[in-house]
């Protein structure tokens, strides 16, 4: 599919004012398709176009006069809705988003109870991006993330118990307690990190995509068709590595999708203060790949764009840059007092909560009942509680683990005083040798 169709489909569903930075604050949620009814034509009547569900008085409302050109026609939202998701898929998406939200809320609680420590960056508000993209992947596909990686790990299938244990620094964590909040890795679930430096994950993800191409073209293994997703934020898009990788991925037509989670803030740096050209999606074109902007608070829209971009990559047509307009409800990290973001902005995005919106969608379109959703919420509550109990009860890493996993070839520790390799000394691995 040509670049223009991806861009045009996504752009068609957006309010035009999104493309310039300053007016982003006024844009509101008029881009959300299927979430509210819109009547198409009336005779000579003043029509109020609501600025979104539950709009607050602070934004005001826009109104216009629509001239009738034909008999009144009411659009049926169900026609569009039915095409987008089945009941089964809908429940899966809902469950994944609830898991992400619930888990992160629990992290905050645990942090303030000192069970979790260090730097913890929560994902509240951005669930639609993780769910929309990762649930469109196959098991063999790869994802690479940043320090805001808990929910990416969960969406990809890393058990909540393992993630929670890792956060508590226990031996049962996905990285045996050696990685921590910012360094989630899972070989089994194809999660390649977990990086603290912004931009670091982008080349690593590009390398994973390179591996797919190499496996197919050099090793002649056509069963390898893994696509890689690289997740990163708006601040990263000013970093050199980002551009270096856009160039090489397009040059070598690598099967990768670059997913920008533009939540407008890099710690306390407003995106518009840091970026000469704030429309990140435009930068794809400079490197020869489609650049797409999507409403990151709408899981169905994200999913639509994700499916197309992933299919494009899997076909061998190369990379895509997808900018997801999203927002984080909490500060940059649990240590961030979050004093710079204005309440008006926070409220504007609070009413666009992706979970609330999707819940409403499922209910209004008869895809699920309140009871169904309550069951899911209860199930997730139990999973998260269980994860905490498991993590609490798990042991701390033993002393012998301190020196483990530095080298895959443990002879890297060199030769001991007895002339043999250090790793051959049983006391070394038991943690009692002197090094």
């Amino acid at each position: 599919m040509a670049a223009s169709s991806l861009a045009s489909r996504a752009v068609a569903s957006l309010s035009p004012s999104i493309s310039t930075g300053a007016s982003r604050d006024d844009a509101g949620s008029s881009s959300v398709v299927g979430f509210h009814k819109r009547s198409s034509a009336f005779t000579g009547r003043r029509v109020r176009i609501s600025s979104g569900h539950g709009s607050s008085a602070a934004h005001g409302r826009r109104s216009c006069v629509v001239a009738a050109t034909a008999a009144p026609v009411k659009e049926s939202p169900l026609k569009i809705a039915d095409a987008l998701v089945t009941r089964e898929e809908g429940l899966e998406l809902y469950e994944d988003m609830i898991l992400g939200r619930c888990f992160e809320d629990m992290c905050a609680q645990m942090y303030y109870r000192s069970k979790m420590f260090g730097f913890v960056h929560l994902y509240n508000g951005q669930e639609a991006v993780s769910t929309g993209f990762i649930k469109s992947l196959k098991k063999d596909d790869y994802i690479c993330s940043t320090y805001r990686d808990h929910v990416h790990a969960l969406s990809k299938g890393v058990p909540a118990r393992q993630v929670m244990s890792e956060l508590f620094g226990k031996a049962t964590g996905c990285c045996r307690g050696q990685g921590g909040s910012m360094h989630m890795f899972s070989k089994e679930h194809r999660l390649l990190g977990g990086f603290a430096f912004i931009g670091e994950g982008i080349p690593v993800a590009t390398g994973a995509a390179f591996n797919t191409k190499y496996s197919r073209e050099v090793l002649k293994d056509l069963s390898v068709d893994a696509v890689t997703l690289a997740f990163f934020g708006d601040g990263t898009c000013n970093n050199g590595q980002f551009f270096e990788c856009l160039n090489m991925a397009a040059l070598w037509k690598l099967p990768i999708v670059y997913v920008v989670e533009n939540n407008l803030w890099a710690i306390g740096m407003d995106h518009f203060r840091a970026t000469s050209v704030p429309e990140i999606w435009k930068k794809g074109e400079a490197f020869g790949m489609p650049g797409v902007h999507v409403d990151g608070m709408d899981v169905l829209k994200v999913r639509e764009v994700a499916k197309e971009a992933i299919a494009r990559a899997r076909r061998g047509d190369g990379p895509t840059l997808v900018e997801c307009e999203t927002y984080r409800y909490r500060g940059h990290s649990l240590a961030d007092p979050d004093e710079l973001r204005k309440p008006e902005q926070k409220n504007k995005y609070a009413v666009r909560d992706p979970i609330a919106a999707f819940k409403k969608y499922l209910l209004e379109n008869g895809l699920a009942s309140e009871a169904d959703l309550k069951t899911i919420e209860k199930k997730i509550d139990e999973i998260v509680e269980d994860a905490v109990e498991f993590a609490d009860a798990s042991p701390l890493p033993p002393r012998s683990q301190l020196l483990e996993n530095v080298f895959a070839d443990p002879r890297g520790f060199g030769i001991g005083p007895d002339g043999k390799y250090r790793c051959e000394d049983p006391a070394f691995t038991a943690g009692t040798a002197e090094v």
Partner: protein
């Protein structure tokens, strides 16, 4: 065999034996290698396995690391290790630390190679020695070949190694010819990473060196022999892991040590050698340990100043005599 041919043949043979091995870097393909180390490889293995990259160290190093996460075996060439500073984040944070951070799940079988240290008249930004910096980082293996035998054996070992290896060559050694045995020419010849070599046996003073300085130390040993001082020369070969065993065994034999390196003195490789000997063989020392290193300045351009900024054979001789209490 020249060092250049040794490196070229090592890469060639490993690429032939294992299709997962590939080369990436600037000018490695059509240009035949900035220093001709990868000469002929593009013609033999094609552009899918010998990748000319754009000038994007951070980007392509990270791509190499990401590929290694999946079990491919990239050989990333830096035109010089000075340029690797633009990629050092990936060498340390994505390559060296990942096996540990992932709790043993993801190993990184990558080799970073290229010329290190001073060349001739290339100025301050092209002359730094990075052995000490990389040598201090856990999770990395750091090797510094001297001879053609070292180059072949250590590079093959590095390519086969499941961990990230920083392979520090020296531009001025590329053209030097060394005699090699048929054993060295064997396609399965490897040297163990972490083992130093006693290049020359002696009884009066131990001289440790690596890379180009090994040649200087050997010449210094010849000079010292004329004065009746029999120096033992140790080619470290491996900075991390450092072969403290061999160094200390030698000092316990000679009771005196001169540690030589081309890089800067503070926190250098010699500082670590000194610390190790002082800790493990204190009672054997008959004299304070002598350190010979490059001058504590950015490398000057003028030829005479450059010569003054780097250790010369006479400096090593003087230090050895001092250690033997044969001069001031």
């Amino acid at each position: 065999m020249t060092v250049r041919d040794a490196l070229n043949s090592a890469i060639d043979e490993e690429m032939a034996a294992d299709p997962k091995v590939f080369v990436m870097g600037e000018e490695v393909g059509e240009y035949q290698g900035a220093y001709k180390v990868t000469k002929g490889l593009l013609q033999k293995y094609g552009p899918d396995r010998v990748l000319d990259t754009p000038i994007t160290e951070a980007g392509f190093t990270g791509i190499g690391v990401g590929a290694a996460f999946q079990g491919l075996k990239p050989i990333v060439e830096f035109m010089t290790f000075n340029f690797a500073m633009q990629a050092i984040d990936h060498i340390i944070n994505s390559a060296a630390k990942t096996y540990y951070m992932s709790g043993g799940q993801i190993s990184v079988p990558i080799v970073f190679r290229g010329p290190n240290g001073a060349a001739a008249g290339v100025g301050a930004q092209h002359s730094q020695c990075f052995a000490a910096w990389y040598g201090s980082c856990p999770g990395l293996k750091v090797v510094t070949p001297y001879s053609a035998e070292d180059a072949r054996g250590l590079l093959k070992a590095a390519i086969r190694d499941p961990d990230p290896v920083v392979f520090l060559e020296n531009e001025l050694l590329y053209g030097e010819n060394f005699p090699v045995s048929s054993q060295v020419r064997d396609p399965n010849f490897t040297l163990p990473i972490g083992k130093a070599k006693v290049e020359r046996e002696g009884t009066d003073v131990t001289i440790t060196a690596f890379s180009k300085m090994v040649g200087f130390a050997l010449k210094a040993a010849d000079e010292l022999a004329k004065d009746g001082i029999k120096a033992e020369v140790i080619n470290l070969r491996s900075i991390r892991p450092l072969d403290r065993e061999t160094i200390n065994a030698s000092v316990r034999k000679t009771y005196r040590l001169v540690a030589v390196e081309e890089g800067w003195p503070q926190h250098g490789v010699c500082a670590e050698v000194c610390a190790s000997v002082q800790e493990e063989s204190f009672d054997y020392l008959d004299a304070p340990i002598e350190r010979i290193s490059g001058a504590d300045i950015p490398m000057p351009y003028a030829a005479n100043l450059e010569r003054l900024a780097l250790p010369q054979i006479e400096d090593i001789v003087r230090a050895a005599k001092r250690a033997c209490y044969r001069s001031k």
